[in-house]
């Protein structure tokens, strides 16, 4: 996600989630979200076999 896309996404998603990001808080959240987006992109690049299911609860039994 490009930085400008991050800012647009944050505005749209915050509105959907009912979060008030007016004022300087918006910029701080965009910075944080951009960081998460970069990290998530690294995760998304990893190709996984189709039969790998999400580990919703990390039970070992």
């Amino acid at each position: 996600m490009k930085p400008e896309d991050c800012a647009a996404y944050v505005d749209a998603a915050a509105a959907l989630a009912g979060l008030d990001l007016r004022g300087p808080r918006r910029e701080a959240v965009v910075v944080q979200f951009s960081r998460i987006a970069a990290i998530a992109e690294f995760v998304m690049q990893h190709e996984l076999p189709a039969d790998v299911e999400p580990a919703t609860v990390m039970r070992h039994d």
Binding site: Y9, L19, F33, A40, H46, L48, R59
Partner: protein
């Protein structure tokens, strides 16, 4: 702790033996601990509440049991304290927040607090932490920073910073904390004490304020491996009301502590775990591996992606838990966590699902490695304790944000719920730093056995912090 038959900094087992043998009364131990906390803790800020009335009542009940000639439980008369995210009947469960001050006091003890009580331990207070456990430094804007007893100008680590500091300072021989991405192992490393993060699902979390449910573990701190094992044994047991708690019987760790390390296969985690560790962290790891004569290097696959996945899932789960307050009263959050929670609330499902699928993949690969090894060894933190307020720290020539990166070496391990004992390495003229003794799922006893062996060899130790 008390001058009635016990030296300062007595271990839990020393205290329990002294109480059992009638050399000291539990009430005397509790009074001494409370007095010590009141006198000295203002310089460390590890406690947010002292539960004197409850402690004296619990201690009096122990003394009464002994007076009646009835047998005493394993931790009878041992003072301990809990991170303030554990429910304690009659107290508000702050979880490091301002917001939770508005909650009603807990109606009952958390399961692990109840188990400590059943084991005879005496609760003397609640301990400081990062707000909602989202941090590695315990620089809490509402309750102040907890200062490291080894050097009060430095952080204690977090998020269970108060728990580690209280044990390092000698206020209590045992404390309870939680570990989501490293919140037991990081402060144990920085404060120079032993910390146990059991297998995910081993200990009941019921009655503890969660952070990111699929990562949240409860565990303990101590100054000896024997105390840690005895505490862990007291905490074990299934709990059908905690959906993550596995239906397993308790597997006592204490009886096997003296068995040694013969026949165990050790692997030393390299690559990422060396690149993300400072020289002092590597030296501490080497001190442990040399004592164990462990030289076999092991690389976990895709560790950086494991850490990245843990980061994404934690942000999403943590934010989801607090969404109503993020909408209604964002101004009441600690500024250190607010922006991360808000950003986490916006994470699209595709990212968390991919991260959770990667989690399954990574777990399978790591379990394959445990076919060849019994114990894996890695540094616990990239650095020893940094100065309070330090924003950036240097790692191999690169400046990294301090607060976000203290979990670099712990996150990939808790991501798949492996049990870990953080053992403290003390070197002359240096701050302590910890090393992770990592075992396969449900093998806590093995990790504790290795910790006990290292302690007997003198490679690791956790003395009470000296006067400051």
């Amino acid at each position: 702790m008390t001058d009635r038959g016990l030296e300062s900094g007595a271990t839990a087992l020393d205290i329990a033996a002294a109480v059992r043998e009638g050399r000291v009364r539990a009430v005397e131990v509790a009074e001494a601990a409370i007095g010590d906390i009141r006198r000295r803790d203002p310089q460390f800020n590890s406690f947010t509440e002292i539960t004197a009335e409850r402690a004296l009542a619990e201690a009096a009940a122990i003394d009464e049991t002994r007076a009646q000639g009835r047998p005493l439980p394993a931790l009878a008369g041992v003072p301990y304290a809990v991170k303030n995210l554990f429910d304690v009947a009659g107290l508000r469960t702050l979880a490091g927040s301002k917001i939770n001050r508005d909650c009603a006091p807990a109606a009952a003890d958390a399961v692990l607090v109840a188990r400590m009580r059943a084991a005879g331990a005496v609760l003397v207070g609640a301990l400081n932490m990062d707000e909602y456990a989202y941090g590695f430094t315990t620089e809490n804007s509402h309750y102040g920073a907890t200062r490291n007893p080894r050097d009060p100008s430095r952080i204690a680590g977090g998020s269970s910073g108060g728990s580690a500091a209280a044990v390092a300072a000698g206020f209590v021989p045992l404390s309870l904390g939680s570990d989501t991405n490293g919140s037991i192992r990081v402060p144990a490393s920085l404060c120079g004490v032993f910390g146990l993060k059991p297998t995910y699902g081993r200990l009941s979390r019921r009655g503890a304020y969660l952070f990111a449910a699929s990562f949240d573990h409860l565990g303990a701190f101590a100054r000896t491996s024997a105390d840690l094992a005895r505490c862990y044994d007291a905490l074990q047991g299934a709990d059908a009301k905690d959906p993550a708690c596995a239906p397993r019987d308790a597997e006592s760790a204490s009886p096997a502590l003296e068995e040694g390390i013969g026949g165990l296969r050790f692997g030393v985690l390299g690559d990422y775990f060396s690149r993300m560790a400072s020289k002092e962290a590597i030296e501490a790891r080497d001190q442990v591996t040399e004592a164990l004569e462990a030289a076999q290097p092991v690389d976990l696959p895709e560790v950086e992606r494991a850490r990245a996945s843990a980061f994404v899932i934690t942000a999403a789960e943590g934010a989801n838990l607090h969404l109503p307050d993020l909408r209604a009263r964002p101004q009441d959050f600690d500024p250190h966590v607010l922006d991360r929670f808000l950003a986490g609330a916006l994470i699209p499902a595709a990212w968390t699902l991919q991260a959770q699928r990667f989690r399954s993949w990574f777990r399978a690969r790591v379990l394959e490695i445990f076919r060849e090894f019994d114990i894996l060894i890695a540094p616990a933190t990239p650095w020893s304790a940094t100065p309070i307020g330090q924003e950036m720290s240097e790692l191999h020539g690169q400046l990294l944000p301090t607060r976000a990166n203290f979990g670099l070496l712990t996150q990939p391990i808790s991501f798949i719920g492996l049990p870990v004992v953080a053992v403290p390495v003390h070197r002359a003229g240096s701050l302590p730093i910890g090393v992770q003794i990592i075992a396969a799922p449900w093998k806590e006893a093995l990790a504790l056995r290795v910790a006990a062996w290292l302690e007997r060899k003198g490679a690791v130790s956790a003395p009470v912090a000296g006067p400051v």
